[in-house]
Symmetry: C2
Subunit: 591 residues, 2 copies
């Protein structure tokens, strides 16, 4: 490498005109305009046009003729103003060009399998295989730079707030509670395994027991889940924990953190304080615990009216303890049968038997199940729903959770289909008062909705034994534009309560001791009240980047089948490696 | 929790005297001085004395009587000046105390298995089991806070220098080249495995191919090595890579980074620029490629003189192509036979057959092998070595590397034993011009001294086929106080040279394609010249903290047998987990 750069592209400004500069970078494009060659040279920082005129030495012109896109070159030349008619206002160096005196080919490039300047010329799978080329595209460069800035902003804020970044182990004990652990066989201890952390949960709680007071980490976590779109086996969290706090303290830090990041990387002021809904309210209004509040369609209760209709399904659902909910679709009376069927399919995916509807026309109802409504009930419904002529009303009737979730999914789709979403807007929302437990009907036991370390609301502690499902958790989720971007809780810090929680979850005291003995012990030696929260960093960056998949904000993502198409990981390994681990693969055995 | 803190200990200043404050923290000590109770309350930020006088309500006094060290409490009271005779100048709040009005016991603590204020009351194993308590000790609190500050300083510097922090995968392909990989079985792809990264080496090179220009990451790396003192299976690197650079550029950034960190966390100015030695010079002068230059003892060649002595061993070593090196021990003539034997043992550990010596007395030599020196040779030796009366000279005679390494180890021990090391000093040193390859005699093949991606010195490229051992690498190590704290190189960026390198290392072209095909491909699509370096962050922090083990600067370290004594990781796992992975442990099979 003879010609080492003296400037990077963004440093080429008009004040340097007349000076010799050396630029290193990639050939973005090469054009031949009547014997004059123009090269656009790209580096991370920008782009500059290089001109090789007809008066240039033939050796240089010959060299340029052989140059193709993505070659790595060095150019030495004088920075000059472009002729007026050649100015490109779309380029930040659009008034300038380098008159090349010397070019050094640093590395030749084969023709890429897709065009770097037109990413759509490659399928996603092809681009994942050649990820190092896809990463050259403007969108991925921009996304990863934004990710860097978001991470630094998060650290800046948390450092200012006296948080300490403390690294926790990646090789830990397997304590599969929620999702499945990735295991790491130990060679030195045959038959023993480490697990990769699903989160640093127990470690950060121990750091609170140790008195570190405020901890954070931007850290990789691992979950061996089954295939799901837009999940990754490894993902990044902004993880934090604080001592001597309640919900308000943690949420306050978390929302100021979010607001700080958004101001720093997007120059957007998040409206503060962030509104709070209880889990119950969120479900009733939006049919989900992560509502997209950038548009306002709200669900409403039809119970009182439905009871009086002659529609048998409503009656039987209500008498079985279920609920009827409605959702007004503005202008929906023009929906075709096919459109209504599409929404019905969405509702069915969420467990609803079917979606019923009425249309609002001339101050009255028509179509769908309108015939089951008396004139009086029609008026009552129109009044309660605020529906207008030309609207449509969808109904869901089922168990509370199913009726709401299904109609919530319909609402989400309507937001997109009816173009109700302001793409420039950022709407954040807190969800509080989650239930502590969820019933796992299949296994006939309770599961922790958040995780087993979440504290119950002290007002509800009495219900733990009598009516566990009614116990509210001291948990909170932060929702941004319909995505859960953070979740956390105040933790249990007393040994006895933690033991009771394990027992409610069906974990025997032996198992609790075997798996979490160190945490139970730690609680005996002076554990402070503490709580925390974790942000899903990939998802947050995705929203801030305006991307539609987390794969767009991860440098080297895996596919939904957890594979890297670039290097073929996971792959078979040498027999010697398995022997050293005393492991044998049993290919035929059914799990 | 009724009494939430209004202040943290370091916020208690004289300007607050007379105001009510609430403090949350741990009982550091409780004293009873004639019925007046003094509690020292500790939080992360400091300590404050709380007084409960004889005039306090009996209920409060009763409460205090039950309080024991490490209880978590909240105290409400008025901040007051201490009486003059009770001022403690060793405490930053030593002029102040809180006159308690109310105390809330937030959590009771059992008696800890060792005293938090006297760490030495617990063995290291006991303290590792109760790591969360050990982490309460002043030294570990201090060390982890220093580690936090060092990490943030590193980021601050690298961000200013336009580096981008980009996360690379933890679940990657197994390409065991140097050390052994930790494997992670894939559940979705039976018989396939991920590996945990030994370093992000290939990823960061791909990021350069992608045009990110300057990358860094503070990142965990993993090596499944055999037991070695002060190694951890997972460790942290400050990893960086740059495009369009040569050695000078990378070393310049690395030394400014080190200097920035040291100024930020230790307020120490590192003497700059850092001196450079070639590998050969470092070996000749100090018998190691990571010399501690805080003291000056240097090795010297005795070849010319030794040849003329009548000492048969010298002659036979020389005629076999070996070397004779000497080391002057100031004041060493008083060494007892036992002391000399101890140094001999050290030399033997490094492969030397034996350590010979002479003493310098009255301008002449005596003892040891002095009888083999003529008077003339004695004078020559004294002159060449600059030895003085009362000194001792050790000799090593062996193959070049053994003779030097063994005497280097003796030198290191002498530095400690003779108290030659200024503990407050920081001496940094670059080592350049490492050999590219090392001969693995056992396996009769060459190994990369750094790694297979290191570029050879272009001047030596011609020797790659004819005399590979003579080829110098474009590699560099940064040494601080006798520890290698960073190592890096300029990388190969041409496919052909990389293939040749693999072939010299005995990697067949099929194997190279199978393991590194993606990298070889990437080199075909426009790879820029690039290079980088990685700092061993644990070791760097250890040196800056003045600690004597990296376990002292890692929150949750493992033992030398890679176990966590706190949670017993690695551990056995549920049979179900192994079944899902289609794995069977073969306990009896010998690896």
């Amino acid at each position: 490498m003879k010609l080492k750069r003296t400037k990077r592209c963004h440093e080429l400004t008009e004040s340097l005109v007349g000076h010799e500069v050396i630029i290193n970078g990639w050939i973005n494009t090469r054009r031949d305009l009547g014997g004059i060659y123009f090269l656009d040279i790209r580096d991370r920082y920008g782009m500059i046009q290089v001109k090789v005129g007809t008066d240039a030495p033939e050796s240089l012109r010959n060299q340029v003729r052989k140059i193709t896109p993505e070659d790595v070159i060095a150019v030495r030349g004088i920075l000059a103003f472009r002729p007026k008619d050649a100015i490109n206002p779309a380029m930040s160096t659009g008034t300038l060009e380098i008159l090349a005196d010397e070019i050094e080919l640093l590395n030749k490039a084969k023709t890429p399998p897709f065009e770097i300047t037109r990413r759509e010329t490659g399928s996603e799978d092809l681009r994942l295989k050649y990820r190092y080329l896809d990463l050259r595209t403007q969108s991925l460069q921009k996304n990863l730079i934004l990710r860097h800035r978001a991470a630094q902003a998060a650290r800046e804020f948390l450092n200012q707030e006296d948080f300490l970044e403390i690294e926790t182990p990646f090789l830990m004990k397997s304590t599969p509670e929620g999702a499945r652990d990735f295991l790491v066989p130990s060679r030195l201890h045959v038959g023993h395994f480490y697990a990769l952390p699903q989160s640093p949960q127990t470690y950060k709680q121990l750091l609170m027991v140790s008195g570190f007071d405020k901890y954070y980490q931007i850290v990789k976590c691992f979950r061996d889940e089954d295939l799901r779109a837009d999940r990754q086996p490894e993902f990044t969290q902004i993880d934090l924990e604080m001592s001597f706090v309640d919900e308000k303290d943690v949420c306050d830090v978390a929302e100021r953190l979010l607001s700080y990041i958004m101001r720093k990387v997007r120059n957007v002021d998040l409206s503060m304080p962030i509104p709070v809904l209880s889990y119950h309210e969120a479900m009733e209004k939006y049919g989900t615990d992560k509502p997209d509040t950038r548009f306002d369609l709200q669900l409403f209760s039809v119970d009182m009216i439905a009871e009086k209709t002659s529609f048998q399904i409503f009656k039987s659902v209500l008498s079985a303890g279920g609920v009827i909910r409605g959702l007004v679709v503005p202008g929906g009376s023009t929906f075709s049968r096919k459109e209504i069927e599409e929404y019905t399919q969405i509702a069915k995916k969420y467990g609803l038997q079917g979606l019923t509807f009425v249309k609002v026309e001339g101050g009255s109802l028509s179509g769908g199940i309108s015939k089951f409504f008396t004139l009086e009930l029609m008026k009552a419904l129109i009044q309660q729903s605020n529906a207008k002529d030309g609207d449509l009303i969808f109904f869901s009737a089922d168990r509370w959770e199913t009726a709401l979730t299904a109609l919530g999914a319909v609402r989400t789709q309507l937001g997109k289909a009816l173009n109700l979403i302001d793409k420039e807007a950022y709407h954040a929302l807190w969800i509080h008062e989650f239930p502590l437990l969820e019933r796992n009907e299949e296994e006939n036991r309770y599961e922790a909705k958040h995780h087993p370390f979440t504290a119950p609301n002290p007002e509800d502690e009495g219900l733990l034994e009598t009516n566990p499902e009614k116990v509210r958790a001291r948990a909170y989720d932060l929702v941004l534009n319909g995505h859960e971007i953070a979740g956390g809780s105040i933790r249990i810090h007393h040994e006895e309560l933690q033991k009771k929680m394990f027992s409610i979850l069906g974990i025997s005291s032996e198992e609790a001791r075997q798996k979490f003995g160190f945490l139970l012990d730690a609680f005996q030696y002076g554990a402070p009240p503490h709580g925390g929260i974790a942000f899903g960093f990939d998802r947050l960056v995705m929203i801030l980047a305006g991307a539609d998949s987390i794969r767009e904000v991860i440098a080297f993502p895996k596919t939904t089948t957890a594979q890297s198409l670039m290097d073929n990981a996971p792959d078979v390994v040498d027999e010697k490696q398995l022997k050293e681990l005393h492991l044998k693969v049993e290919k035929d055995e059914k799990p």
